[in-house]
Symmetry: C2
Subunit: 383 residues, 2 copies
């Protein structure tokens, strides 16, 4: 995994990218963006590292862990330059089970309403891991930043991945979340008990539980406390939601807030669209998750397009209130009659009793983000 | 407002209730439950006290402020008994502008899908005030309770209002919210700069911003830290959401969490359903709000039943992140053609990009709570 960039890297900035699992469904090769097949996604509560969805904006940087340094800086604190052994030894290792979801998960459904700009993710741009690392809070307090700061403050992250002009990937989160003992924000160096794979940010990435994946900056090189959000393209002019009537001629990115917490979400992973299922008992399976640590409290499933509903069985951890960072996997078993045409639908309810919208059209937006309408799968019951 | 109970109180426990504004739309006289007319609701950002929606579960108690005592108790703290002057003088007065909404707001729309059990609130079981009082946090810390407690803890409230068997109204909130400096939970003795009116909890009520009104216990007599939620009927066996298929034969209240934070909500207050509006420019007005301090970031309005949308102008305070406790009032102006039939629809988006569901049926529940589907108003444009 840590081979040096190949000789043709000068021609192809992606030539040094790592090898990947052949079972991944690739949405873009350069940069690499891929999701696990839906039928594998909910086979286990923790997603195996090699099946965890990969969302890269740029080439994967080749990082030498011996020379790696993480810079921490900003007004009100002292500047730090931490080596990997320092990050591991100076701060207690904290572990969090957290789901990450791309803002573009389920974009393909939005594109079917009207074309949007973005990668055609199916339902697999979401995965769950056990992350281990230093708490961002501990690092900030060690650098002398306080528990509370007056006024508006943000914590900006920069990656070692750079575009052709040398600009790094970047993003930010509000200061309050970064320093909160309850928000569990990590500078992670472990993923499911292993060192971070290169595709997931080796040697150090941010993990912001309950927040859109785009803020969990990989290959982290810099943490900066700032009175402004990250100036990065991805914070300022991407990853925001708009009214369906806003198009590329009228969009003004300054009018919408950067996505942080994501809305409640669910999807059906089994059966697959168009399947012919045997008559008898049908097992419907899927995942559900919500942003901000809001636990999923119920998943309703319909076999008749949304006319009647039953609550599914939920499996998952029993999280602390407000810290439900991981998805729940759910299942509904129901008898189905030979020859029937079923429209299976799911919708989740979170701890704030927020629900998913019925249809995609009214949440359509030009970038195809935040696609969380009811998930619908049509199947036929064989005779 | 502080007249003693009238002599026939023995016959009628509601005989001592205070006088009310004649313009209120009354849903139940005993106990008194009433909402302001929709056209007055959004006339001002702060709802005048006499128009603030009133949701009483029991007769209004007659409280002598000279003998009033607030008890505070529970394991891990010392018991307090606070007089009204002590509550006012020992703790700094903290002011918060917060919207309260009844869980049953907009229940009438749910009843039109299928009958539900509950008061037929229209869109007015929501109002906003500037509350003044002691922080619950300050009182708990003064009593020796800590900033954090291991395990599950709740803060239970009891009112001086009692049913015929002597059981008080009660409710609880999680300990973390009660003690958080960011949650702004008040023991309020002022409402819009005046002492609390009797209908709103004189002399002291809880105000839990961002949370269903049912937890903001009025006529507060007791605050108790407890390892369990309030044993009250209204915490255990009411104010919970269920799948539409759950009926009174199958409901198990233990399976659903007590409503705390409410989901994103909005409604149209102008024009009114069935109105004939003049041709030319139509002004559509309404409110939007979300639970948990999540700011409303956008309100979309449609004049064609949801086929096309435009973003409304929002007016309101600029709150601190995560502490958007007050509603936003919104307005959309659009030209309308003589003779047109309009189906006006609104839907709001909050800071977590949660949205309202399209239709009422799939969120229907036997108690008719959490009714937050798109609000729809049909009008005719005059010729
Ligand atoms: Mo993303
Ligand atoms: Mo309520």
């Amino acid at each position: 995994e840590e081979a040096p960039p190949s000789p043709d890297a000068a021609q192809d900035p992606f030539a040094g990218d790592p090898p990947r699992h052949p079972g991944m469904r690739v949405n873009s090769l350069k940069p690499f963006n891929a999701e696990p097949p839906a039928e594998l996604l909910t086979e286990s509560f923790l997603t195996p590292n090699e099946l965890f969805f990969t969302r890269n904006h740029l080439p994967v940087p080749a990082v030498d862990p011996r020379s790696y340094r993480l810079r921490v800086e900003g007004p009100g604190g002292r500047a730090l330059s931490l080596s990997l052994p320092e990050l591991r030894s100076r701060f207690p290792k904290h572990e969090v089970t957290a789901t990450l979801q791309c803002a573009g998960n389920r974009r393909a459904e939005m594109s079917r309403v009207r074309p949007v700009k973005g990668l055609p993710w199916d339902i697999g741009a979401i995965s769950t891991a056990r992350w281990g690392g230093a708490r961002l809070r501990d690092v900030l307090l060690h650098a002398g930043f306080g528990e509370r700061r007056d006024g508006e403050w943000h914590v900006c992250f920069e990656g070692l991945d750079e575009d052709v002009g040398g600009a790094p990937y970047g993003a930010s989160i509000p200061y309050g979340r970064a320093v909160s003992p309850d928000a569990d924000v990590l500078l992670a160096y472990e993923m499911n008990g292993e060192e971070l794979p290169r595709d997931h940010g080796f040697p150090v990435r941010v993990v912001v539980p309950g927040v859109v994946g785009a803020r969990s900056v990989k290959w982290l090189r810099r943490v900066a406390v700032s009175p402004a959000e990250s100036p990065s393209h991805w914070q300022q002019n991407d990853y925001k939601g708009f009214c369906p009537s806003v198009d590329w001629d009228t969009v003004d990115y300054r009018t919408a807030p950067a996505i942080q917490e994501l809305p409640v979400q669910s999807a059906i992973t089994q059966p697959r669209p168009g399947a012919a299922v045997p008559p008898g008992e049908l097992a419907v399976k899927g995942y559900a998750w919500s942003g901000g640590g809001r636990r999923v409290v119920r998943v309703d499933v319909s076999l008749d397009g949304g006319r009647t509903w039953r609550a599914a069985e939920l499996a998952g951890e029993r999280p602390a209130p407000g810290r439900a960072w991981a998805w729940v996997l759910w299942e509904l078993r129901a008898p189905v009659a030979a020859g029937a045409e079923l429209e299976i639908v799911c919708k989740a309810v979170d701890a704030s009793y927020n629900v998913q919208p019925d249809t995609v059209g009214p949440i359509w937006n030009l970038r195809g983000v935040l696609s969380n309408a009811w998930h619908r799968v049509r199947v036929t019951v064989a005779r």
